[in-house]
Amino acid sequence: MKYQAKVYVTLKKSILDPQGRTVEHNLHRAGHSSITGVRIGKYIELSLEGELATVEAELKEIAETILSNPIMEDVRYALEEVSVTV
Protein backbone atom coordinates (compact mmCIF):
# COMPACT_ATOMS: atom_id res chain seq x y z
CA MET A 1 0.00 0.00 0.00
CA LYS A 2 1.17 3.55 -0.72
CA TYR A 3 0.92 6.32 1.80
CA GLN A 4 1.54 10.03 1.85
CA ALA A 5 2.92 11.56 5.03
CA LYS A 6 2.69 15.18 6.11
CA VAL A 7 5.16 16.21 8.79
CA TYR A 8 5.00 19.51 10.69
CA VAL A 9 8.02 20.68 12.67
CA THR A 10 7.83 23.65 15.03
CA LEU A 11 10.06 25.12 17.69
CA LYS A 12 9.08 23.99 21.18
CA LYS A 13 6.61 26.34 22.84
CA SER A 14 9.16 27.10 25.57
CA ILE A 15 11.66 28.42 23.03
CA LEU A 16 11.56 31.96 21.72
CA ASP A 17 11.13 32.10 17.96
CA PRO A 18 12.90 35.29 16.79
CA GLN A 19 11.64 34.79 13.23
CA GLY A 20 8.02 34.45 14.38
CA ARG A 21 8.44 37.49 16.63
CA THR A 22 9.76 39.60 13.74
CA VAL A 23 6.92 38.53 11.45
CA GLU A 24 4.36 39.23 14.17
CA HIS A 25 5.82 42.69 14.77
CA ASN A 26 5.59 43.49 11.07
CA LEU A 27 2.07 42.11 10.75
CA HIS A 28 1.12 44.61 13.44
CA ARG A 29 2.87 47.36 11.48
CA ALA A 30 0.87 46.36 8.43
CA GLY A 31 -2.30 46.97 10.38
CA HIS A 32 -3.11 43.43 11.53
CA SER A 33 -2.94 44.43 15.14
CA SER A 34 -4.95 41.55 16.59
CA ILE A 35 -2.54 38.84 15.48
CA THR A 36 -0.58 37.03 18.19
CA GLY A 37 1.43 33.87 18.62
CA VAL A 38 3.20 33.74 15.24
CA ARG A 39 5.47 30.70 15.14
CA ILE A 40 7.42 29.62 12.09
CA GLY A 41 8.07 25.99 11.34
CA LYS A 42 8.66 23.50 8.56
CA TYR A 43 6.35 21.32 6.53
CA ILE A 44 7.67 18.13 4.95
CA GLU A 45 5.85 15.77 2.59
CA LEU A 46 6.99 12.27 1.79
CA SER A 47 5.67 9.01 0.38
CA LEU A 48 6.03 5.58 1.91
CA GLU A 49 5.11 2.11 0.80
CA GLY A 50 4.45 -1.02 2.80
CA GLU A 51 2.21 -2.52 5.47
CA LEU A 52 0.44 0.12 7.56
CA ALA A 53 2.09 -0.86 10.87
CA THR A 54 5.56 -0.85 9.34
CA VAL A 55 4.99 2.46 7.61
CA GLU A 56 3.65 4.02 10.80
CA ALA A 57 6.67 2.85 12.78
CA GLU A 58 9.08 4.10 10.14
CA LEU A 59 7.38 7.50 9.93
CA LYS A 60 7.43 7.86 13.71
CA GLU A 61 11.13 7.03 13.83
CA ILE A 62 12.25 9.44 11.11
CA ALA A 63 9.90 12.23 12.24
CA GLU A 64 11.09 12.07 15.84
CA THR A 65 14.80 11.46 15.31
CA ILE A 66 15.82 12.86 11.91
CA LEU A 67 13.24 15.28 10.52
CA SER A 68 13.04 17.06 13.88
CA ASN A 69 15.50 17.63 16.70
CA PRO A 70 13.69 16.75 19.95
CA ILE A 71 15.97 19.08 21.90
CA MET A 72 14.43 22.16 20.37
CA GLU A 73 11.52 21.10 18.19
CA ASP A 74 8.09 19.50 18.39
CA VAL A 75 6.84 17.35 15.56
CA ARG A 76 3.43 16.09 14.49
CA TYR A 77 2.59 14.02 11.48
CA ALA A 78 -0.30 12.48 9.59
CA LEU A 79 -0.47 9.55 7.24
CA GLU A 80 -2.91 9.20 4.36
CA GLU A 81 -3.47 6.26 2.07
CA VAL A 82 -2.90 7.18 -1.55
CA SER A 83 -5.55 5.86 -3.91
CA VAL A 84 -4.01 4.70 -7.15
CA THR A 85 -5.86 5.94 -10.21
CA VAL A 86 -5.25 4.32 -13.57
Binding site: P18, I71, M72
Partner: protein, 230 residues
Protein backbone atom coordinates in the same frame (compact mmCIF):
# COMPACT_ATOMS: atom_id res chain seq x y z
CA UNK B 1 50.27 14.66 15.99
CA UNK B 2 48.14 13.25 13.19
CA UNK B 3 44.86 14.97 12.35
CA UNK B 4 42.01 13.81 10.13
CA UNK B 5 40.05 16.80 8.80
CA UNK B 6 36.62 15.63 7.67
CA UNK B 7 35.23 17.21 4.49
CA UNK B 8 31.50 17.34 3.97
CA UNK B 9 29.84 18.74 0.86
CA UNK B 10 29.61 22.41 1.83
CA UNK B 11 32.49 22.49 4.31
CA UNK B 12 34.36 25.74 3.72
CA UNK B 13 36.92 25.89 6.52
CA UNK B 14 38.39 22.53 5.58
CA UNK B 15 41.53 23.92 3.96
CA UNK B 16 42.11 26.50 6.75
CA UNK B 17 41.75 23.65 9.23
CA UNK B 18 44.07 21.43 7.22
CA UNK B 19 46.62 24.30 7.04
CA UNK B 20 46.62 24.74 10.81
CA UNK B 21 46.64 21.00 11.51
CA UNK B 22 49.45 20.38 9.05
CA UNK B 23 51.63 23.31 10.09
CA UNK B 24 50.96 23.60 13.81
CA UNK B 25 50.09 20.03 14.77
CA UNK B 26 52.43 18.28 12.35
CA UNK B 27 50.52 16.06 9.99
CA UNK B 28 47.04 16.25 8.52
CA UNK B 29 44.90 14.35 6.08
CA UNK B 30 41.59 15.29 4.46
CA UNK B 31 38.91 12.61 4.76
CA UNK B 32 35.76 12.67 2.62
CA UNK B 33 32.49 12.26 4.54
CA UNK B 34 31.39 9.16 2.63
CA UNK B 35 34.45 7.18 3.72
CA UNK B 36 33.72 4.35 6.11
CA UNK B 37 37.09 4.34 7.83
CA UNK B 38 39.42 6.88 9.39
CA UNK B 39 43.19 6.93 8.93
CA UNK B 40 45.13 6.26 12.12
CA UNK B 41 45.00 9.64 13.85
CA UNK B 42 45.10 11.39 17.21
CA UNK B 43 42.62 14.13 16.39
CA UNK B 44 39.48 14.25 14.25
CA UNK B 45 38.59 17.79 13.21
CA UNK B 46 35.10 18.65 12.00
CA UNK B 47 35.60 21.98 10.23
CA UNK B 48 33.24 24.91 9.77
CA UNK B 49 31.05 25.56 6.78
CA UNK B 50 27.57 24.81 5.55
CA UNK B 51 27.49 21.04 5.24
CA UNK B 52 24.68 20.00 2.89
CA UNK B 53 23.70 23.64 2.53
CA UNK B 54 22.34 23.60 6.10
CA UNK B 55 19.29 21.76 4.74
CA UNK B 56 16.81 20.47 7.32
CA UNK B 57 18.91 21.80 10.25
CA UNK B 58 22.55 22.85 10.51
CA UNK B 59 24.67 19.72 10.87
CA UNK B 60 21.68 17.37 10.74
CA UNK B 61 22.50 15.63 7.48
CA UNK B 62 26.26 15.58 8.06
CA UNK B 63 25.57 13.80 11.36
CA UNK B 64 24.15 10.91 9.31
CA UNK B 65 27.26 10.60 7.10
CA UNK B 66 29.03 7.22 7.08
CA UNK B 67 32.24 8.72 8.49
CA UNK B 68 30.41 9.89 11.63
CA UNK B 69 30.12 6.28 12.85
CA UNK B 70 33.91 6.15 12.76
CA UNK B 71 34.21 9.54 14.44
CA UNK B 72 32.01 8.25 17.28
CA UNK B 73 34.09 5.08 17.56
CA UNK B 74 37.28 7.20 17.62
CA UNK B 75 35.81 9.27 20.50
CA UNK B 76 34.72 6.11 22.34
CA UNK B 77 38.33 4.87 22.14
CA UNK B 78 39.37 8.13 23.82
CA UNK B 79 40.56 9.85 20.65
CA UNK B 80 40.35 13.64 20.44
CA UNK B 81 37.55 15.31 18.46
CA UNK B 82 37.36 19.04 17.73
CA UNK B 83 34.24 20.53 16.13
CA UNK B 84 34.37 24.17 15.15
CA UNK B 85 31.28 26.15 14.09
CA UNK B 86 29.43 23.77 11.73
CA UNK B 87 31.56 21.06 13.34
CA UNK B 88 30.00 21.92 16.73
CA UNK B 89 26.54 21.84 15.15
CA UNK B 90 27.32 18.38 13.72
CA UNK B 91 28.53 17.11 17.11
CA UNK B 92 25.27 18.16 18.79
CA UNK B 93 23.15 16.67 16.00
CA UNK B 94 25.16 13.43 16.25
CA UNK B 95 24.46 13.31 19.99
CA UNK B 96 28.17 13.54 20.85
CA UNK B 97 27.63 16.80 22.74
CA UNK B 98 24.51 18.04 24.53
CA UNK B 99 22.21 20.81 23.38
CA UNK B 100 21.54 22.41 20.03
CA UNK B 101 22.60 25.47 18.08
CA UNK B 102 19.68 27.66 17.07
CA UNK B 103 19.26 30.71 14.85
CA UNK B 104 21.03 33.79 16.24
CA UNK B 105 18.54 35.83 18.23
CA UNK B 106 19.27 38.87 16.04
CA UNK B 107 18.39 36.83 12.91
CA UNK B 108 21.63 38.19 11.40
CA UNK B 109 24.55 36.20 10.09
CA UNK B 110 27.36 37.34 12.38
CA UNK B 111 30.91 37.63 11.12
CA UNK B 112 33.15 39.55 13.49
CA UNK B 113 35.55 39.15 16.40
CA UNK B 114 34.14 38.31 19.82
CA UNK B 115 35.69 38.04 23.25
CA UNK B 116 35.76 34.67 24.91
CA UNK B 117 36.49 33.82 28.49
CA UNK B 118 38.41 30.61 29.05
CA UNK B 119 36.59 28.74 31.83
CA UNK B 120 38.89 25.73 32.09
CA UNK B 121 42.59 25.22 31.60
CA UNK B 122 42.61 21.54 32.59
CA UNK B 123 41.46 20.13 29.24
CA UNK B 124 43.42 18.67 26.34
CA UNK B 125 42.30 21.70 24.33
CA UNK B 126 43.08 24.51 26.78
CA UNK B 127 45.98 23.44 29.00
CA UNK B 128 48.28 26.27 27.88
CA UNK B 129 45.67 28.93 28.66
CA UNK B 130 44.91 30.14 32.15
CA UNK B 131 41.33 30.01 33.42
CA UNK B 132 39.97 33.54 33.17
CA UNK B 133 42.01 34.44 30.06
CA UNK B 134 40.04 36.59 27.63
CA UNK B 135 40.59 35.80 23.96
CA UNK B 136 39.65 37.73 20.84
CA UNK B 137 38.54 35.24 18.18
CA UNK B 138 36.21 35.56 15.17
CA UNK B 139 32.76 34.06 14.80
CA UNK B 140 31.00 33.48 11.47
CA UNK B 141 27.60 31.90 11.88
CA UNK B 142 23.85 32.20 11.48
CA UNK B 143 22.92 29.41 13.92
CA UNK B 144 25.12 29.84 16.96
CA UNK B 145 22.65 30.40 19.75
CA UNK B 146 23.35 27.62 22.21
CA UNK B 147 20.27 25.99 23.69
CA UNK B 148 19.74 23.13 26.12
CA UNK B 149 16.83 22.46 28.46
CA UNK B 150 17.11 23.67 32.05
CA UNK B 151 18.14 20.28 33.50
CA UNK B 152 20.85 19.74 30.89
CA UNK B 153 22.13 23.27 31.38
CA UNK B 154 22.33 22.78 35.13
CA UNK B 155 24.18 19.49 34.69
CA UNK B 156 26.66 21.06 32.24
CA UNK B 157 27.39 23.82 34.74
CA UNK B 158 27.71 21.42 37.68
CA UNK B 159 30.12 19.24 35.73
CA UNK B 160 32.12 22.31 34.57
CA UNK B 161 31.59 21.35 30.97
CA UNK B 162 31.55 24.91 29.63
CA UNK B 163 35.04 25.63 28.32
CA UNK B 164 34.47 28.98 26.57
CA UNK B 165 31.91 31.71 27.27
CA UNK B 166 31.19 34.85 25.29
CA UNK B 167 32.25 37.82 27.36
CA UNK B 168 33.04 41.50 27.31
CA UNK B 169 36.61 42.59 26.65
CA UNK B 170 37.06 42.60 30.42
CA UNK B 171 35.90 39.01 30.69
CA UNK B 172 32.44 39.66 32.13
CA UNK B 173 30.04 36.98 30.96
CA UNK B 174 26.96 39.18 30.66
CA UNK B 175 24.34 39.86 27.95
CA UNK B 176 26.46 42.71 26.60
CA UNK B 177 29.16 40.29 25.48
CA UNK B 178 26.73 37.70 24.09
CA UNK B 179 26.51 38.00 20.29
CA UNK B 180 23.79 35.47 19.50
CA UNK B 181 21.56 34.75 22.49
CA UNK B 182 23.40 31.63 23.68
CA UNK B 183 22.15 30.43 27.06
CA UNK B 184 24.64 31.13 29.86
CA UNK B 185 26.84 32.82 27.20
CA UNK B 186 27.99 29.36 26.12
CA UNK B 187 30.45 29.40 23.19
CA UNK B 188 32.03 25.97 23.65
CA UNK B 189 31.47 22.80 25.67
CA UNK B 190 33.36 19.58 26.24
CA UNK B 191 32.05 16.05 26.83
CA UNK B 192 32.27 14.42 30.25
CA UNK B 193 35.30 12.35 29.29
CA UNK B 194 37.13 15.49 28.12
CA UNK B 195 38.08 14.37 24.61
CA UNK B 196 35.34 15.99 22.50
CA UNK B 197 35.19 19.80 22.25
CA UNK B 198 32.67 21.81 20.25
CA UNK B 199 32.81 25.58 19.87
CA UNK B 200 31.21 28.17 17.61
CA UNK B 201 34.14 30.67 17.37
CA UNK B 202 37.03 29.95 15.01
CA UNK B 203 40.38 29.56 16.80
CA UNK B 204 41.97 28.38 13.53
CA UNK B 205 41.32 31.83 12.10
CA UNK B 206 43.25 33.40 14.96
CA UNK B 207 46.56 31.58 14.89
CA UNK B 208 48.82 34.25 13.39
CA UNK B 209 49.15 37.99 14.04
CA UNK B 210 48.78 38.50 10.29
CA UNK B 211 45.18 37.27 10.64
CA UNK B 212 44.41 39.92 13.25
CA UNK B 213 44.74 37.75 16.33
CA UNK B 214 46.81 34.82 17.49
CA UNK B 215 44.66 34.13 20.53
CA UNK B 216 43.59 30.76 19.11
CA UNK B 217 47.17 29.53 18.80
CA UNK B 218 47.32 28.14 22.31
CA UNK B 219 44.40 25.79 21.65
CA UNK B 220 46.60 23.92 19.17
CA UNK B 221 49.63 24.22 21.40
CA UNK B 222 47.50 22.64 24.14
CA UNK B 223 46.62 19.71 21.90
CA UNK B 224 50.30 19.05 21.20
CA UNK B 225 51.01 19.41 24.88
CA UNK B 226 48.28 16.93 25.83
CA UNK B 227 49.73 14.37 23.45
CA UNK B 228 53.22 14.85 24.87
CA UNK B 229 51.87 14.27 28.39
CA UNK B 230 49.90 11.09 27.62
Amino acid sequence: MKTAVIQFPGSNCDMDSWHVAQNLLGDAELVWHSESSLPKCDLVWLPGGFSYGDHLRTGAIAALSPIMREVKAHAERGGLVLGICNGFQILTEAGMLEGALMRNNSLHFLCHDVHLKVERSDTAFTNTYTAGDVLRIPIAHNEGSYYADADTLERLEQEHRVVFRYSTEQGQTMPEGNPNGSLNNIAGIINARGNVLGMMPHPERATEELLGSSDGFKLFESLLNSLAVT
